[in-house]
Symmetry: C2
Subunit: 202 residues, 2 copies
DNA sequence: CGCGACGTTGATTTGCCTCAACGATTGTGG
DNA sequence: CCACAATCGTTGAGGCAAATCAACGTCGCG
């Protein structure tokens, strides 16, 4: 039943919000009414290029990736999102226009999602969520900026080490091809980086 | 006088806010009281690595850049900001911790700046600004994400063409060294890209 | 079982960097 | 107002980081 799914999964979201800014009972109730639980199977699309992104996703369990396919057919990963993380194509969502990105599941993944209309309504009913989402996006912005800086100023090996340090919980969970597509390098070159590291100077 | 400077420069900021979400008279007045005008000369620091970023800047006239100096002494530019744009080291500002970035002026530049404490107070006094800054940062986030995508998926030439297209108003205003530092390439290589373009296939 | 994703390794190519040198501007102090 | 320094853009030669293409072994899965 949908209801059971909601019961089982809404708790982490409420904890997440209350951890940022405590909610009152009415606001908690608004969250419960505004978000829908949904289960995506491994490899299932959450958003497909050409569609409009109508959902903002909170990952309860599992792992999503958002990526772009280039002219040559290669995927470039913009973001991984795991437990207690958020994911949407903000450009498409915010402007309600066609997306050039794809989102799919790398594992069986449970999300709580809010539609664009419901989020606008939520902002209207409880302005506290303007603040919550401001803080949430500020935090994402800071991370994104650090990653950009890495990309324009560091070598592939430095970026790999930084990734392993920052996302160590993901390193065993993802195949190397995905990590390479996130770092912006080929899987072959990532393999060489890893092997050169184990034999420091042979 | 400070007062004249304020009178002369506050108008673009009020227009900016009212263009996003109309303000009432009280809110307009809060803006006037919360922001301070300041003039930076060409090459003058707005923020220096090691300091805490205490200001959020709105550029009224001129041009600022935010950048990181790497171990070899090379600058990598994160952002240019011109008229009606915003700039701060959000990580440092938001967490009130030491910054690893620099901000300086590339031209004589007039800004309106709000201190961290005043911004927090502004949010408290008029929650509408939570929404305004949410939208403002969402827009910045979208742009930043597009730029990251470019960086992990495109060649230097493609990035250059994209820059010239997107920031055509800046192309004549900035020396090529600065554009190169923004694109993440050397000035020499940028020069080669430009010259190869003028003679398509000689 | 057999196919497709994955990781690895080798050979070769290429995009971009490094270093060095040079003229043209700009700007700045004497 | 001139002289000198600093910044800028350009070009050449050479080198390195990372991509490309190809081949092969392994594993998990339908």
């Amino acid at each position: 039943m949908k209801k059971d799914l909601l019961q089982a999964s809404i708790e982490p979201l409420l904890e997440y919000f209350n951890g940022l800014i405590p909610l009152n009972e009415i606001e908690n109730q608004l969250v419960i009414e505004s978000f829908q639980p949904r289960l995506y199977r491994n490899r299932q699309y959450v958003l497909q290029e050409g569609d409009i992104c109508t959902k903002f996703n909170f990952v309860v369990r599992g792992c999503l990736r958002m990526y772009k396919i280039d002219d040559k057919g290669n995927a470039h990963i913009i973001q991984f999102t795991t437990e207690n993380g958020w994911l949407t194509d903000l450009g498409s969502f915010h402007g309600q226009k066609v997306s050039k990105l794809n989102i799919d599941a790398l594992e069986d993944t449970m999300v709580l999602q809010i539609s664009y209309d419901n989020l606008i309504a939520l902002y209207k009913q409880a302005p506290k969520f303007d603040r919550i989402f401001r803080v949430l996006i500020e935090n994402s912005f800071i991370l994104l900026q650090e990653r950009l800086l890495q990309n324009i100023s560091s070598t592939a090996e430095e970026r790999y080490l930084s990734f392993m340090h920052m996302y160590s919980h993901l390193s065993n969970r993802l195949p190397q091809t995905q990590i390479a597509a996130f770092l912006g390098i080929t899987p072959e070159f990532l393999s060489r980086i890893r092997n050169n590291r184990s034999k420091p100077k042979a």
